[in-house]
Symmetry: C2
Subunit: 390 residues, 2 copies
């Protein structure tokens, strides 16, 4: 096990009707909030009105900034920073999923910084202060409600880059599984895929002696497979929705990742797909992850076999463990299909002829090689994309 | 799944040599520390000197209060409160295991309170403020380094009572697995037993639809069985020590207990044993837990069978699941024996003739019945003690 530091200070309020606590939570951080959200669904569902009511009851005034898009853009972040400064906002309340929260995080950083907030995403600066940030979560997926990171796309370059710091962990997060009953099946499945990827990016490691977090990762993966199947059949199953929602937190607050070398290659490889084609991040991950494993498994057959046996119940082939590993990868891909995810470039809407360009972009800010499990050269990355073609 | 709130804000520094960070961590909370510890081992090992050096380097002055005993007493707590007030202490640094940390928590509460600190342990008062508290952990067991609770024994009555509040979670905790290399096997095994009990008190629940935390509990239990066997053979196995140390945190910061009804009956039943005979808490738990399960399993055979199958790999008997459940309980008991724990009154040094007195004391502050899984009357509690006799 490797040395580590870990802190996950977010206060979670989980359960039915918890959005009514939004005002009270914000009040602890000041008198004026920025209400940050995306498109129409939080308006149509009446959630935004409930939250405004809660803020008013708590004596918190607010300004609004909607319009966050999936794969959130720097342009809206600049607008939010300006608005917070002009209106002397004390606390940002993000109402939505990962895109809204990531956008809110970028605003929270930018308000406290004299220069261009992109400096933090291009690696030029380290975060030293942020505006307090709270969350009302509507989509369990990105885990941004608990994580230390944010991903923003620079509109003019299509570059998707991340920033991380423990200061980016929200002060509070309100999670009501009922708010996810009406999520479309595709979005639900994208969320499940993203959550599972957050676990697997931590799971496929070369670090030895991490049996506890191995088993904990497997616990979350098994549960996701179980509950995803239930919600695809019955979108209003509270317990299934609740387990998925809490899994999103556990998968990405890093309690599963401590003491082990992580490898976020798949996210990096996917980011270029969603930046170029504007496809859903989860859909891109479902396409890339089985291909990544298929390319990488010879490097550590036993770890992939362990995954196959423990998560998907594949019988261990002690004579030929690689068969177990491959069967596990097939089951993962079949599971993605079962919940309605694309698992090929064709299904995703990506193009084989873009592979060179995509591979080059992945390495643009990442040196010569990507990842740790089995570092990928540009040719290796291209091969992963190629394996994802069909 | 039940509604819940969850916060675990402790900053963990985990790994080799991390005790050198003690001064720096304390410095963030003030200029004067109370160094609180137990007996000779932290002195003999040189750990206390290393920490004093770290405090001096960071410019933090300190006063000392050693002498914390296992099952920490109120008398030393009163002394600590007085000392902190007199010396205008800013931060308490507990160096030791659960007893030292629990004692430090009680001091941290008491310093900020005008009345008798025992008011918080007798349930008369709710915690509203504490002195900042940090930890250098030497014994993975109680989980107090991450928990919201503290247990203190009132010397004149032998009553062992607890207090809980999220304010009792330490600000920081320093965990170096190397510091546990020299723990005697008995103490190591007591710690393992306590950690497993913290998981099982959460695991044996009637709450439905909590598959994620079920699997996470099983993950920790399986890992404890694995790594406990390793350290009993090889006390200096770093990875095994590290997995056990981190499991102590995960087992008791409540990430495994969210959204489910918990049942702390076994701890309550054990507390009276350690209060009366001054036996190690872990040893008492090893004696009580199998007896508790043997008395309770008919109430929920399938849950105990699930435990047996998933944690100890007992083959599920689909015709007679109670056989699976009983086999699981036997395996648990055998495991305790294997790591050197007592599993009977006789081995523990408790007396059958005290059962009536013990049973009455358990219910003294707990109403007519104990617990939730299958609430225990005084007769039921006595029966659990009786099943623990041999």
């Amino acid at each position: 096990m490797l040395d580590f530091s870990f802190v996950s200070p977010t206060q979670f309020a989980f359960g039915k009707g918890t959005q009514a606590q939004a005002g009270e939570f914000c009040r602890a951080f000041g008198q004026k909030a920025l209400l940050h959200y995306g498109g129409g669904s939080v308006v149509r569902s009446g959630l935004l009105d409930q939250i405004k009511h809660s803020l008013q009851e708590a004596g918190v005034s607010f300004v609004e900034l909607g319009g966050v898009q999936p794969n959130p853009r720097d342009t809206l972040v600049y607008e939010g920073i300006e608005l917070c400064r002009k209106e002397r906002v004390d606390v940002i309340l993000a109402v939505g999923g990962g895109s809204v929260i990531d956008s809110a995080k970028a605003i929270a950083i930018g308000v406290k910084y004299g220069g261009d907030f992109w400096d933090f995403y291009s690696g030029k600066q380290t975060v030293t202060g942020v505006l307090p940030l709270g969350v009302v979560l509507t989509l369990p997926a990105a885990g941004s409600e608990a994580s230390n990171s944010s991903v923003i796309t620079q509109e003019k370059t299509s570059l998707k880059r991340f920033c991380d710091s423990d200061l980016l962990r929200p002060k509070f997060a309100i999670l009501n599984p009922e708010l996810t009953f009406t999520l479309p099946p595709f979005q639900t499945a994208c969320g499940v895929t993203d959550i599972m990827a957050h676990v697997m990016e931590r799971y496929f490691t070369n670090t030895q002696g991490v049996g506890l977090t191995d088993h904990m990762c497997e616990a979350v993966l098994m549960s996701m497979v179980k509950y995803a199947r239930i919600v695809i059949q019955n979108p209003r199953d509270y317990d299934a929705r609740a387990n998925i929602m809490w899994a999103g937190v556990v998968a990405h607050n890093n309690v599963l990742g401590v003491g082990r070398q992580q490898d976020w290659s798949t996210h990096m490889i996917e980011h270029e797909l969603s930046a170029l084609y504007d496809v859903a991040h989860g859909a891109g991950l479902a396409t890339i992850f089985p291909a990544f494993l298929r390319y990488q498994y010879p490097h550590n057959v036993m770890r992939v076999a362990q995954f196959a046996q423990r998560v998907f119940g594949v019988e261990m082939d002690f004579e030929q463990p690689e068969r177990t590993a491959l069967e596990g990868i097939d089951r993962l891909k079949a599971f993605y299909h079962e919940i309605g995810m694309p698992t090929s470039f064709k299904e995703l809407g990506a193009k084989e002829e873009d592979i060179d360009r995509l591979s080059a972009k992945v390495l643009l800010n990442n040196g010569d090689k990507l990842g740790y499990f089995h570092p990928l050269t540009r040719a290796g990355i291209a091969e992963v994309y190629r394996l994802a073609c069909d």
